[in-house]
């Protein structure tokens, strides 16, 4: 029987397949559809990524931002050699990807400001999370969203928070139109001036989302409309 640790060097030089293989699964688009100006995909094995690229270090009132240096242990000719890289991790989960063409969104919002486009996507995401948690009877923290931009699209991903997925986004995708119409209605019918806990504000919303004004029900509504 193979010993796991004949010695340290062998343990660290384990065949990569034995350590990583089979655990990183490829993302798979299971279905696609359209809703108004949105192109929507249901994807399994999305990669949720988290990393700490920089660290802010302060001594009393002085502070500066430095690279986060994780150590890589290497053995060369029986000696330990150090190398550095940024630490992070990723895990698979299921989710729904919403793609909106930037040009179309700009004309709907009446502004070329990318910040407004991002606000629209975040607001639609938070509105949808709120409706999902109400309709499925789950905690809004169990479903998360993420916004980014590419050359042509503003991309909103609404995904299960749990590692491996918890079946929530699958349930949402089954009745996607209902969820989207209800989100639109909730954003449209609300009486607040921009956002409130009835439409967009969720427990543990990160402070920067509110401070930077990235929640606005009117912009969110436009993201989901014709």
């Amino acid at each position: 029987m193979t010993k796991f640790s004949e010695n340290f060097e062998e343990a660290l030089d384990l065949d990569e397949d034995e350590i990583e293989g089979g655990l990183t699964r490829d993302a798979k688009t299971l279905d696609e559809t359209d809703f108004n100006d949105l192109h929507i995909r249901f994807v399994s094995n999305l990669k949720v990524r988290s990393t700490v690229p920089k660290v802010e270090i302060s001594y009393f009132s002085n502070s500066n931002v430095e690279d986060a240096k994780g150590d890589i242990l290497k053995f060369e000719d029986g000696e330990v050699k150090w190398d550095h890289a940024i630490p992070g991790h990723q895990h698979p989960t299921d989710g729904i990807v919403f793609l909106h063409r930037i040009e179309d969104l700009r004309s709907k919002l009446g502004s070329n400001d990318n910040r407004k486009a991002i606000t629209a996507a975040y607001s639609a995401g938070y509105g949808l999370r709120s409706i999902i948690s109400r309709k499925l009877g789950v905690d809004s923290l169990d479903i998360q969203c993420s916004v980014t931009m590419s050359q042509r699209f503003v991309q909103l991903i609404v995904h299960d928070a749990d590692v491996g997925g918890a079946g929530l986004s699958h349930a949402v995708y089954q009745d996607l139109e209902d969820f989207l119409w209800e989100t639109r209605a909730s954003l449209d019918d609300c009486v607040c001036s921009g956002f409130c806990e009835q439409c967009l504000l969720l427990p543990r919303t990160p402070s920067y989302i509110i401070e930077e004004g990235l929640l606005n029900r009117f912009d969110g509504l436009k993201f989901l409309s014709d």
């Binding site: 990669k47 990524r49 990393t51 690229p53 660290v55 802010e56 931002v65 986060a68 910040r115 509110i210």
Partner: protein, 685 residues
């Protein structure tokens, strides 16, 4: 002032009041683990330090004319007393090495009257001083100043602490001392006199050393012979608040401002132009009350069962052994902690249900009123939003419904895993062979045992495949195909069970190897120091010596919320008492560990600050992406995989290559460094 600091001061006082007027129990809830840990640690830092000062003063005042306390003796007696009050009484017998070592080391520092961080203020306020050795008070004052410099001021010119070159001492004194005396040129003579008085009393030693061309005189403080005095009367400066024993003039020797004579036995306020105020606040706080220790603890996820039980037991007792508990929502429901006087909340709770649960922990007795208060953090946008209209947005808002998650394939797999183990156990298929591994004397042995045990598990499942399948079909209503797929994924080559267990061991090994490097000890060296080996082995045995636990930490059996992978953290701490290095091993979920133990991070555990000295990452990149590193951008550190410039601020994006985080080595630290991780979160497909 930071909210946690404010809350810690406030809770100290509240805890004391409650001891007097109620059951003596205060529970504080925080929404985040870090906040609970912060409030708890600050409570310990502030309150234990204050009480140690009161105990120190009372010990010193008990001394009679024949038997004086030297710094070393005082430290020993005080340490025993602190241990009795803060560890032995509340916890009786505590198995959690990390927590008890953390507390012991902190108490060790608090017991030292010359500890710079904790007790310097006693000397600055003139509450503690040296015993007068001369008839002349000017000489006594100078001797006191010399001891303060030797004990507290940093001496960069020499390596050893409590030593200084005589020239450096003179230059440090000359900053303020000329104002001490009417005739400054006299200083050298008086300094010599003060030094010889101290030397005669064996408080300092004078040595001559040759350094390059010149001979230098080095003064060293001898703690064993330094005897201390408590000053009930002193002159305190109205401007800089320094206290001056052995000084009878009307101006401050340091800043020249007016001095006021204070009597610390009376609680009188000082009259001034701005009205009445307590000029000598610190003196009154320390000398105005008797000893009144308040025990506080942190209750959160991730602490050991033993510690958790002790805290609940101590807090639940009547009268309580622990007075203030800082908790996350771990104490929100399900645990009976009896009558509480007060519930405090840091931040608006995440949901109204959670608020009702927290508040419901108190107010259980009709004849006694209780208090519930919530601190809305001024810098928190979400708290501010609710606080603006707390009635309609929070208190009177309808509650959110209960949560139920739906099953999916990954969850099914963890259920199948549990069911297979149950089957093997019930049918006596040599389950004992791989349920508990012989952990042996050596880390290599442990790892090999586990490896062999997992192979044996796979072989057994293979042998009884058909009957297991039959059992599963009876146990689950799921699709037959799904069940077979789950079984194949878990146990057939490449078996996910084997891969994930190997991954745990791999992470452990990599980080352990980094630890050897950090401590400058090879594996052989660490092995020789049995104490270290045993401490890690004990922890490791708990985690990998028992198959269900091992599979759970590898994400193969569903824990409460998630099947997330864990990483290995090693904490290294030098004991204050026996100068041994103690090590503990902790396994933590990868996302939480990355948030708290990233490179350079300062992390608090059991009231002790730790610094990450090495964060381990895999050799291979797991992904690379482009992020905006402009801190003033609307979304700093957001990722844009397909772009070159940030669409929000127009700055060039930075391409980063990310490697998998495997674990970290942490060392206890007194550094004043503070760190904040700049986190990137994203989703890719």
């Amino acid at each position: 002032m930071q909210t946690t600091t404010f809350l810690s001061y406030f809770l100290s006082q509240l805890g004391r009041d409650m001891k007097e007027f109620g059951a003596g129990k205060v529970l504080v809830f925080s929404n985040r683990r870090g906040d609970a840990e912060g409030v708890g640690s600050l409570m310990i830092k502030l309150d234990y330090s204050l009480e140690s000062e009161r105990m120190m003063v009372s010990l010193l005042e008990e001394q009679d004319d024949d038997q004086f306390y030297s710094v070393s003796n005082l430290r020993e007696d005080l340490y025993e007393e602190l241990k009795e009050h803060y560890v032995k009484q509340p916890y009786t017998y505590l198995e959690d090495e990390t927590l008890s070592q953390g507390l012991f080391s902190q108490l060790g520092a608090l017991a030292n009257p010359l500890d710079k961080g904790n007790h310097r203020k006693l000397w600055d306020a003139g509450i503690l001083s040296v015993r007068p050795e001369s008839e002349n008070d000017e000489i006594n004052l100078l001797a006191n100043e010399i001891v303060k410099i030797l004990a507290f001021k940093p001496h960069t010119d020499l390596d050893q602490s409590n030593s200084i070159k005589i020239d450096s001492l003179k230059s440090k004194l000359s900053n303020s001392v000329p104002t001490y005396f009417d005739s400054a040129p006299d200083l050298d003579a008086k300094l010599d006199e003060a030094l010889s008085v101290l030397e005669q009393a064996d408080i300092i030693s004078r040595e001559r050393e040759r350094s390059s061309d010149e001979v230098v005189t080095i003064l060293t403080l001898r703690r064993n012979f330094l005897e201390l005095n408590v000053q009930r009367e002193a002159r305190v400066c109205e401007f800089c608040y320094s206290g001056w024993p052995f000084w009878d003039r009307s101006y401050c020797p340091d800043c020249g401002e007016h001095l006021v004579e204070v009597d610390r036995d009376s609680y009188d306020q000082v009259e001034s132009d701005q009205g009445e105020y307590s000029l000598d606040h610190w003196g009154k706080v320390v000398l105005g009350h008797g000893v009144d220790p308040l025990v506080s603890a942190v209750h959160k996820a991730g602490i050991k069962t033993d510690t958790r039980n002790k805290i609940e037991e101590g807090f639940g007792a009547n009268p309580p052994k622990i007075n203030v508990v800082s908790a996350t929502n771990t104490l929100e429901l399900g645990i009976d902690i009896g009558t509480l006087d007060c519930i405090a909340g840091l931040g608006i709770p995440p949901t109204k249900t959670s608020y009702v649960q927290r508040a419901g922990r108190t107010g259980r007795s009709l004849d006694q009123s209780s208090m519930v208060f919530t601190v809305a953090r001024p810098h928190n946008a979400v708290d501010n939003f609710y606080f603006e209209d707390i009635e309609s947005r929070f208190l009177n808002a309808p509650s959110k419904p209960v949560q139920i998650n739906h099953l999916n394939y990954d969850i099914l797999k963890t259920q199948v895993m549990s069911e297979v183990l149950t089957y093997l156990n019930l049918n006596d298929l040599d389950y004992g062979r791989f349920e508990r591994f012989q952990t042996g004397q050596d880390i290599d042995e442990v790892i090999n045992e586990v490896y062999d045990g997992v192979e044996a598990l796979l072989d057994t499942v293979d042998e009884h495949q058909d009957s297991i399948k039959e059992h599963l079909e009876g146990a689950f209503k799921s699709d037959k195909e799904d069940l077979e797929q789950a079984l194949e994924d878990l146990f057939e080559s490449p078996s996910e069970v084997k891969q994930r267990v190997l991954r745990r061991l791999f992470k452990f090994y990599t980080t352990f190897r980094a630890l050897e490097n950090e401590t400058g000890q090879g594996a052989q060296g660490l092995r020789r120091r049995r104490v270290i080996q045993e401490e890690i082995l004990q922890e490791l045995e708990r985690e990998v010596g028992y198959l269900p636990m091992l599979l759970s930490s590898a994400g193969m059996i569903s824990q409460y919320r998630s099947t997330e992978d864990s990483v290995a953290l090693f904490r290294e701490k030098e004991s204050e008492t026996d100068s041994q290095v103690h090590l503990s091993y902790e396994s933590k979920s990868v996302s939480q560990a990355l948030r708290e133990s990233y490179p350079e991070a300062m992390d608090t555990y059991g009231g002790v600050d730790y610094e990450v000295v090495s964060a381990q990452v895999s050799r291979d990149e797991i992904f690379s992406t482009s992020v905006c590193t402009n801190q003033s951008c609307t979304l700093p550190y957001n990722e844009y995989p397909d772009l070159e410039v940030c669409p929000l601020c127009g700055d060039d994006l930075e391409e980063i290559s990310v490697h998998e985080y495997l674990g970290a080595v942490l060392k206890s630290s007194r550094s004043r460094k503070r760190t904040r991780p700049l986190i990137m979160r994203g989703v890719d497909f």
